[in-house]
Amino acid sequence: MKVIEIDNLKKTYSESEVEVHAVNGVTLDIEEGEFTAIVGPSGSGKTTLLNMIGGLDIPTSGEVIIGGSNMNHLNGSELTDFRKNNIGFVFQAYNLIPVLTAKENTEFVMKLQGKSKVECEKRSKELLESVGLGERINARPNKMSGGQQQRVAVARALASKPKFVLADEPTANLDSKSTETLLDIMEKLNKEENITFVFSTHDARVVKKARRVITLEDGKILSDVRKNGGE
């Protein structure tokens, strides 16, 4: 089943003198359960592409269709609600809410969704345990390492039961050990719970773990490779 359908997507920045075609005609589909890396040198358009998929940025032209809904047809707050219910986000800089504990961060979107307290507690505990932070549920972000924070971010992204998780360079700020732990967790969640991940990276070790690798260059797809069963 197709989770994401992208058709001839373009994003042009024309704020400066020269026009920048950050994403320049991308067409691709993401299937449910895929574990996809978007790679390419810096400035190749990875972030711009992910942001348009996530409904954070508006395309200059082309379409993003998620679970049958055309993102172009949603206004500001509809888009916000759509993200809340369909997409999990993991950011490069962790971006946890600093005043909330690991558990509260994880529950945050669920509460926005109006889930009951009991359900929130149960799921956030399970998720934090599955990312190896069962002991740290009451810690605030500033008391956790970068790797731990990013694992909370993954738990938060999954808590709302999204159709897929978008992660823009999730390991760029992590040391190699934390990178490995995080990827193992993501891989496990993907395999065991069939969670769809789309992440960008320019780290070769991360690319190795991916089962599909889409390479961008100058806003265009250079290659799109599916590996069978990964490594």
Binding site: D57, T80, D81, K84, F91, N95, I97, P98, V99, L100
Partner: protein, 471 residues
């Protein structure tokens, strides 16, 4: 809602110092505004109490002509019935008869225009109560000398003693205050004062043919109890009014202006002196609740024979006082306006800094699915909390101060007191009771917080998630 509230509460303590500084500036503004406002309102209340409640009355019934031409010729007649009727009117606490006119007073080589006020000595106790102002003690040069030689006062007290020489007092507590002494410490001097400083004044009897003279006037006329002064003026229809009047007592009138010119006379004596048999110039009234003044005035006026009587309120009778209060009130409010204006920019600056610092966080919140409206609520909550902390602590700090000065008005003494009195003010600084003006300060802060949030909320509304995330 609970959750947003909790987040807001935690957020304000992220930058503890800034929150405290903002709350402190609100605290000081509220504290200062309340104290200042309280002194202002208290002073107005006191001025009104002294010149209106304890002198002219809140309402006066007069001959309709009297208001434009306050002459004895515009009298009211056969007033017993109407006084009874007024006393029985709902909302009127008391109604007392008066004759007021200006005459010349002289004693020896001194003469001065004075305000003769004819009163019913018994009923008047419920309005201006001259009995209560009767001077009982005088710091004569002899007693000052005695105190200096026979006691060991401190240097400061000696200075104050000399400064207040010849002053009259109704009670010894006030004397103690003027000397900067605790009333209980002062008790040791009571014997000496009772012996040498007593002043034998008496209140007027029903048909007394003597007078009470206000203290500054007595000093000016160089007269004291037992002396006789000449009053010379015009009675009704231009008749000559002249007479010799023995001084029964000296009254210390709080208002310096009145204290310079007031002479109390029994009504019966004034009616003879001024050739006004059974006639009055006015009936002064005080009310149960002064807020009802205009209603009571209107309702009495509607029942009166308009040809013969009219009821005027104190604002009409004493427009100078009204203007003085209004003018002072305006300038006070303007001052507070400026103060609040400055505080407003402090609050505004805080909100702007808050949203600038947290732009990226706001971006994240909206990205993961929080509506901007909820974000706005958190921000407003945060500012309201800071405002609330500042306002409530400011109120709590002002409360005991305002209350204690309300119960125990601050009496200004020494040179400062003289300055006040020379300007025509009584040397006290009372505060108003704790009431509406407290709440108003809270309301102003609330309003300012909301106004200060307008621009930041616009920014949030227009915020592009993308830009916020990249910042």
């Amino acid at each position: 809602m609970n959750r947003l509230f909790k987040m807001a509460w935690r957020n304000i303590w992220r930058n503890r110092r800034r929150t405290l500084i903002t709350a402190a500036s609100i605290f000081f503004a509220v504290f200062f505004a309340i104290v200042m406002r309280s002194i202002q309102l208290g002073t107005y209340g006191h001025m009104i109490s002294q010149s209106i409640e304890k002198f002219s009355g809140y309402l006066q019934l007069q001959n309709p002509e009297y208001f434009d031409e306050p002459s004895l010729d515009n009298f009211i007649e056969n007033s017993d019935d109407i006084i009874k009727k007024l006393n029985a009117t709902e909302g009127v606490k008391v109604a007392v008869p008066r004759i007021e006119t200006f005459v010349l007073a002289s004693s020896g080589h001194q003469s001065k225009g004075v305000l003769v006020t004819g009163i019913d000595p018994e009923q008047e106790m419920f309005v201006s109560n001259p009995e209560h102002m009767l001077a009982k003690y005088k710091l004569t040069p002899e007693i000052v000398e005695k105190l200096l030689t026979e006691t060991n006062l401190e240097k400061k007290q000696i200075e104050l003693l000399k400064f207040n020489e010849n002053k009259l007092y109704h009670d010894l507590d006030r004397l103690a205050l003027d000397l900067g002494l605790n009333p209980s410490d002062f008790e040791q001097y009571h014997g000496l004062l009772n012996k040498y400083a007593s002043y034998s004044g008496e209140y007027l009897s029903k048909n007394d043919d003597g007078i009470l003279v206000s203290s500054r006037l007595a000093t000016f006329l160089r007269s004291t109890v037992g002396d006789t002064i000449v009053l010379l003026g015009q009675g009704r229809y231009g008749a000559t009014a002249a007479g010799l009047f023995p001084i029964r007592g000296i009254v210390r009138v709080p208002s310096p202006d009145l204290d310079n010119k007031l002479v109390y006379m029994s009504l019966s004596r004034a009616q003879i002196f001024l050739d006004m048999p059974d006639m009055l110039t006015s009936i002064a009234m005080n009310l149960d609740d002064n807020d009802d003044m205009f209603d009571i005035q209107a309702s009495i006026n509607s029942t009166l024979d308009k040809e013969k009587y009219v009821v005027k309120n104190w604002e009409e009778i004493n427009p100078t006082l009204k203007q003085q209060i209004d003018g002072d009130d305006k300038s006070g409010q303007m001052f507070l306006g400026i103060l609040y204006f400055i505080i407003f920019f402090g609050i505004f600056g805080t909100v702007m800094m808050m949203i600038a610092e947290r732009k990226r966080e706001f971006g994240v919140l909206v990205a993961i699915g929080m509506r901007k409206s909820k974000l706005a609520i958190i921000l407003v909550f945060e500012m309201l909390m800071v405002g609330f902390i500042g306002t409530v602590s400011g109120m709590l700090a002002a409360l005991p101060l305002v209350y204690s000065f309300y119960v125990n008005p601050f009496h200004i003494t020494g040179e400062m007191a003289k300055m006040y009195e020379d300007m025509g003010f009584e040397a006290v600084m009372p505060t108003a009771p704790v009431e509406g003006y407290f709440a108003i300060q809270g309301f102003i802060i609330l309003l300012m917080v909301i106004v200060a949030c307008i621009i930041p909320l616009q920014r949030i509304r227009k915020m592009k998630v993308m830009n916020a995330l990249r910042s």
